[in-house]
Chain length 201, copies 2
DNA sequence: CTAGGAATTGAACGTACGTTCACCTAACTT
DNA sequence: AAGTTAGGTGAACGTACGTTCAATTCCTAG
């Protein structure tokens, strides 16, 4: 036996990435074997190497394309308005984006230490770029007096951690709907940085 | 060659746990080998099995004793006062405790998925117990009107994520000292839940 | 000073890993 | 209808894993 009916690179490639993402999110990169990924895709382990040169690159590509998507998506969010508005836009974007991609986010945050030095540097740089968007909003808000933040770097890390944390407990079809979650998180973010109340759309 | 001068179970045991904790925090449980741990301790791999029945139990014991310590330590924090006071006590305790044990915390939060089902249930239960302490404070505060929190469960997760996140960026001897960090995080926590300002000791 | 147990070695066991490769076959081109 | 090739198999490679255990050495008690 060899090639099965209806097999196509266009189909298998994405399926490999999807299976890898899912398994890595559940069990961790080091704990997942190429044979497990292959089984999930319905293919032999050797076939995976038509789609990635090696396991490390598979992880890196997963994380890289996630960060690319994140930066691409956030680039169309308007963060140029008044700081309170920009912060709300950022927070709501962050939550919505992360709710849609819980597995990818989980991988991107948990598997940093399994990247080679070079690969780590690339992802870390992208992450910094993203976090800087938030920090600049906080800086503007502090400068104009609407935010009461002692240290914008620490506040940035605190807010990112809080917002990203939702991927650890959020499950599709749970008690809370996405809109509620966005509203409640935004409420906490807004108050945490001391933005004055009530500035809806 | 066999036993080296000055070797003692009382010394090697803790060193095994410490080396394991350190390596697992840096590289992840699945990526760390028994031989690496042994090398760090200065011992052969076989000797580790005098101190743990197997690798999985080593991880579990690390996490279990960390959670035991956490619950033991928090039990002597007075959380019975007014909600704002209790929240401050909890936040400051959480930060101080976690700053002292960055590696253990990192392991306890990142390696949950590498526990067997039974072991996971134990740790998860302890974690829930701890989080419930915070949630009860939030509930009391909301009931008495000093906290403005829409959903205490979500707020609990958000605050824990924010506070625990500091272990991902805090490094000994960095720009900020521990007191500053406590003050700034407490400030954000207090405002996030809508506790009225200025209620220092 | 000597026996006996505690601590540790070093080699070995079976298993499973990531990766390679010669071969095969279904589908597209002409 | 034949030829080409992308897509895939399945077996094999060397390595490294977790774990076991007989043998060895150091320490302690009497």
């Amino acid at each position: 036996m060899a090639r099965k009916t209806g097999s196509h690179s266009d189909i298998t490639g994405p399926r490999v990435r999807s299976a890898a993402r899912s398994l890595i999110a559940r069990h961790g990169f080091a704990a997942v074997t190429m044979r497990q990924i292959a089984r999930e895709v319905g293919v032999q382990a050797g076939a995976l190497y038509l789609y990635t040169p090696d396991k490390q690159t598979l992880l890196f590509d997963l994380m890289k394309s996630h960060m690319d998507e994140l930066l691409e998506a956030v680039s169309s969010v308007d963060l140029s308005g008044p700081p309170e508005r920009a912060l709300e836009a950022f927070a709501r974007f962050h939550i919505a984006f992360h709710l849609d991609r819980a597995e990818a986010v989980f991988v991107a945050y948990m598997e940093l230490r399994n990247l080679t030095e070079d690969n780590f540097a690339v992802i870390e740089d992208q992450r910094k770029t993203y976090e800087n968007l938030l920090e600049r909003i906080l800086q503007r808000g502090r400068a104009s007096g609407v935010f009461a933040v002692h240290d914008t770097k620490l506040a940035t890390m605190a807010l990112i951690a809080m917002l990203t944390g939702l991927t650890t407990w959020y499950r599709e079809g749970g008690r809370l709907d996405r809109g509620d979650i966005q509203d409640m998180y935004w409420d906490m973010v807004r108050k945490a940085v001391g933005a004055d109340a009530a500035l809806s759309a």
